[in-house]
């Protein structure tokens, strides 16, 4: 079996139906939404789908550049092919209070090419120093929009293990409306999905809530509702997952 496979929405939905013995309690639209929700959540957790964008610098000079596609963490930015170092607004303000006024033509020790970038928000970056001339290129590598599936023939490239995790998440997602034991029995799929995401991107394992949901934080049990079977089951499954590696 190949490591990666192009799988269509129809195939995914068929395999989702196979995961439940009996007449599905979800509609086709619900299944489609759950699959796309799973893809988006996977991209948010792992940054699986990457893209590269080239932005021309503008004279003016310009401090802030809007990124045409949502970019998340560990983005790489180069100026005319030369890597820039990441920084933050706080660090720049603390270390160089006038940084937001400085351009490549400022002199007085200011570099003659932009050397630092700082994320202002998820979709914008500031550069230091500003490009006084313009017409150069900022190349940004980052996380692209999620390839959602709109038609049954639309497909997505996924590893076989990721397909399983996606289907598990989708089943968990459609089970929420039913609640009770149906939902409880899918909690393991949700935790397996999170565990796989944590293995791809260990940055998310620093999240207190992630650790709590995964049963790695005892406060999860304390904060759970008295007698909450969902939380007890979640902790139990998380323990089993840990024990099984």
């Amino acid at each position: 079996m190949p490591g990666y496979t192009a799988i269509t929405r129809l195939d995914l939905r068929t395999r989702l139906t196979e995961m439940y013995e009996g007449v599905p309690f979800w509609t086709t639209d619900e299944a489609n939404d759950a699959l796309n929700e799973g893809l988006r959540f996977w991209n948010a957790l792992t940054g699986r789908w990457k893209t590269r964008i080239v932005i021309p610098t503008t004279p003016g000079p310009t401090l802030t550049y809007l990124l045409p596609a949502p970019l998340l963490y560990r983005a790489r930015v180069t100026f005319n092919g030369i890597p820039m170092s990441p920084s933050s607004r706080e660090d720049l303000l603390n270390g160089r209070p006038r940084w937001y006024l400085e351009t490549t033509a400022s002199g007085q020790g200011v570099p003659t090419v932009p050397t630092l970038f700082s994320p202002r928000s998820l979709t914008t970056i500031d550069i230091w120093p500003m490009d006084a001339v313009g017409g150069n290129s900022l190349m940004v590598d980052g996380v692209a929009e999620t390839p959602v599936l709109l038609l049954d023939t639309d497909f997505v490239d996924l590893a076989e293990a990721d397909v399983s995790n996606l289907l598990g998440y989708a089943l968990h997602c459609v089970s929420l409306k039913k609640g009770g034991p149906w939902f409880q029995s899918t909690m393991g799929y949700f935790l397996a999905f999170l565990k796989a995401a944590g293995e791809e991107n260990d940055l998310i394992t620093t999240s207190q809530m992630y650790r709590r949901v995964m049963g790695l934080d005892n406060r999860w049990k304390v904060s759970a509702l008295p007698g909450s079977s969902v939380s007890q089951l979640a902790a139990q499954i998380a323990k089993q997952l840990q024990a099984g590696g």
């Binding site: 939404d33 949502p70 994320p119 928000s121 979709t123």
Partner: protein, 214 residues
């Protein structure tokens, strides 16, 4: 790439609430109302934006006259991130956020003695206004970075206020947490708790991703 619409999210919420999905227009059971879900959706969106700071706005430069200390904040202001002072005398610095107690005890004559502004207050100033101190001795400009409110969502098929990656966690599960947490016949504490944790998880993840970038 398909854009996520507010009606898409409302339909998904309706499905979980066992209501027929119609973009949030009707709630036949009467356990909730359409307006109620739309309000919760917008509230959760703004809480997500304020908590994660994933979207940042820059207000139009605020002109400052020497001796002036109070200025209006933008109407869509949620919280202040950074205030920068640039004076006509060449001074430029970040203003530190303080409260009235700190200002009064740190530099008592801040409202009477003109100098280079060093701090700002947005909590101890009238609503939607900001005070700076010490009062400036020259004219200048304030640059304000802040978290703006998201665009209003409803049942008309407009864009959602959050990036698509957080459509489910930030909007769907947050709104469901409120719906299931309602004191009424539709209450379901266990589902409410699960949905709240999904919302909190996405908030934390979004913050980590943004901070982990650097």
């Amino acid at each position: 790439m398909a854009e996520v619409l507010d009606t898409d999210i409302l339909s998904q919420i309706q499905t979980v609430l066992m209501e027929p999905p119609d973009g949030g227009l009707t709630i036949p059971s009467g356990l909730w109302t359409s307006a109620e879900l739309v309000n919760r959706l917008n509230e959760r969106s703004n809480r997500f934006l304020k908590g994660t700071r994933i979207l940042v706005g820059e207000a139009a430069p605020i002109p400052v006259t020497a001796g002036q200390s109070r200025f209006d904040l933008p109407q869509d202001w949620l919280t202040t991130l950074t205030v920068l002072w640039t004076g006509q005398d060449g001074t430029a610095n970040e203003l530190v956020r303080v409260d009235a107690f700190e200002a009064d005890h740190g530099y008592a004559p801040w409202e009477t003695t003109r100098s280079t502004p060093a701090f700002y207050m947005d909590e101890d100033a009238p609503l939607l206004s900001i005070a700076i101190g010490p009062i400036p001795r020259v004219n200048g400009v304030l640059t304000l970075l802040y978290v703006p409110q998201g665009g209003a969502m409803g049942t008309s098929g407009g864009p959602i206020a959050l990036p698509e990656l957080y459509a489910a966690g930030g909007l769907k599960y947050g709104t469901l947490a409120d719906a299931f947490g309602k004191d009424g016949r539709g209450a379901n504490p266990e589902k409410a708790q699960y949905c709240e944790q999904r919302y909190q998880l996405d908030m934390e993840l979004a913050t980590i991703m943004l901070n982990g970038w650097v």
